[in-house]
Amino acid sequence: MKIKVVKRYGTAFKDRLYIPAIIEGLKITAKHLFKNVNDIKSVDVLEYPEEQPRDISERYRGLHRLTHREDGSVRCVACFMCATACPSSCIFIEAVERTDGIDEKMPERFAIDLLECVFCGYCVEACPCDAIRMDTGIFSVIGSKREDFVMEKEQLLAQTGSFGDTFSRCHNAGEKQDD
């Protein structure tokens, strides 16, 4: 067997003395300190909330939304894939038979408890119908009590995507396709 001998650092007298290394470290922090004290505006931070983040991209996982079909109705078919994939079990779905002839099944209730959600995006990955997305770009939700953070179906449907694509590109099975 081939053995690779890794050189161990920190055994020299200078290293074991610690003080040169500490001085080196202090030099670095002091440099940052003096630079920033001298010109606070060179610190690249946002003056939130007067300044809002500018770097929210299409891949940013913000607040969830439920997408619509072309006729404006809910796309979700309550297949429970998102609730199954959810690691924090924060999606509460009650399914019901859909009677308008568009599909067979739809959610009666579709709620996400944002206080339990970890914003991992597994629900979006799991959805076979492109019915749930996290592309609203909303990163801050405010409420005064716990119930305010439980997003119900109507609230989720009312959100719009921040990056175009109002309607879902996916076609559910059995649905008519134009292209």
Partner: protein, 431 residues
């Protein structure tokens, strides 16, 4: 006791209490601000009263108000000894506060044949007092940690105990070598010893006379005050918060503030023993008394320059980028503070001018020298406190066994060696 003695003693006590207690919010703010700036962040800067934010120091007062009004919570499992659990933080807090009280803020003055110490506790065994009372703070940690009935608290307490054992020794031995050098246990005498020069040019500060003792003392004092890189007692990544885990609201705040007072006291002791205390380099109290006119002239020359730099810095930095819609009253604050600073400068210039052109007379000069020395002391104190803070945000925390190894295997033998060498030199030179 004469009136002058009463005034001086009361004045010293008030000054000591102010320096210790008012330093807490300033230090907490400095800690957070410097941490932010070192890490290329801004730190607390938005809390304000009528637009006055004073660089964010107002945040500390908001924090205190919050801690005072927080719910008083007692863990249900603490049954016997709850009163001890409640007073434990106060023990730590008062020990740290009392330890600060033997620091001289200025040289002893002579009034009407009386020699008056500018020292809240006018005692001549200051070193012993500091070592004894400073170590009492550990008792509060023991009570609090033990009575919490929490494994993390207990671990923190156990660590505090072993830290106390392993670092009191090098600390005390470093002090012993300084006592040998200065031939006294009176802080004021120590400072006066340092007002001389070595080889004619170098100020005889402890740090230059006894560099090894300085290093040992500073390292040990970092460990004693539980500051990074030796804050294993809290060790928040390992044992949550050590002895403070079960404490909340004002009880927690007392521990927290006690730590900052202890740090402040430690800085005061370090500058008193090693950095010349209230002394300006090369200028002993006698020289200041005799040549105060020249000193005042120099101050008159420096003051406008200093104010100009401060005001320019404030105007540049107390504002927001042009992209931000509102500056939250920063412009107004800058204006008011500029006028206030200029006004203060003018008053100071006038007072100094009186000294230059008319002379202050014996009492006037003495008071002016005391004030100057207090200012020097506060300046040095702030500098060393900032050094404490910068070190915390530079170095990562040592592992507990590494801390112990450092204490027993390196610092203890080194401090013993230092004592021997010092003793031999003193005997040899025949001081």
């Amino acid at each position: 006791m004469s009136t002058a003695a009463l005034i001086v003693t009361l004045g010293s006590i008030v000054l000591g209490a102010l320096l210790a207690l008012m330093m807490i919010p300033v230090l907490v703010w400095l800690e957070r601000r410097i941490a932010g700036l070192i890490q290329d962040r801004v730190g607390p800067n938005r809390t304000n009263i009528l637009g006055f934010r004073l660089g964010g120091v107002v945040q500390s007062f908001a924090d205190v108000i919050k801690l005072v009004f927080k719910e008083e919570y007692y863990p249900g499992h603490i049954k016997t000894g709850r009163w001890l659990y409640i007073i434990a933080p106060a023990i730590t807090f008062s020990a740290a506060l009392l330890a600060f009280m033997v620091i001289p803020f200025a040289d002893t003055v002579q009034f009407g044949g009386e020699s008056l110490r500018i020292q809240p506790l006018p005692v001549d065994y200051g070193v012993l007092w500091y070592l004894a009372i400073g170590a009492l703070g550990m008792i509060g940690i023991f009570f609090g940690g033990w009575l919490s009935h929490n494994k993390y608290s207990l671990l923190g307490t156990q660590r505090a105990g072993s830290m106390g054992l392993s670092y009191e020794l090098p600390l005390g031995l470093a002090v012993v070598s300084m006592m040998l050098t200065y031939n006294t246990i009176d802080f004021n005498e120590m400072v006066r010893w340092q007002s001389g020069t070595v080889l004619g040019v170098v100020p005889a500060w402890g740090i230059l006379v006894q560099p090894l003792a300085f290093i040992i003392f500073v390292v040990a004092i970092f460990a004693e005050t539980n500051r990074a890189p030796f804050n294993v007692v809290e060790g928040e990544s390992e044992i949550i918060s050590g002895h403070m885990t079960e404490f909340s609201a004002m009880k927690f705040a007392l521990y927290f503030m006690g730590e900052y007072i202890a740090m402040n006291s430690a800085s005061a002791v370090v500058i008193t023993m090693f950095l010349g205390g209230y002394q300006l380099p090369w200028l002993s109290t006698e020289m200041l008394n005799i040549h105060f006119g020249i000193v005042a002239l120099a101050l008159m020359a420096v003051l406008p320059l200093f104010l100009f730099v401060i005001i320019r810095w404030m105007r540049r930095n107390n504002s927001v980028r042009t992209t931000v819609s509102t500056d939250g009253g920063r412009d107004f604050e800058t204006k008011v503070l500029t006028y206030a600073l200029i006004g203060m400068g003018v008053v100071l210039e006038l007072i100094l001018g009186c000294f230059v052109f008319f002379g202050g007379g014996g009492t006037g000069t003495a008071i002016a020298v005391i004030l100057l020395q207090i200012a020097v002391f506060v300046f040095k104190l702030m500098c060393f406190n900032i050094f404490f803070i910068v070190v915390r945000w530079t170095l990562p925390r040592f592992r507990f066994d590494q801390v112990q190894t450092l204490g027993w295997h390196y610092l203890l033998p080194l401090s013993l060696l230092n004592i021997f060498v010092t003793a031999i030199v003193i005997v040899g030179v025949g001081l």
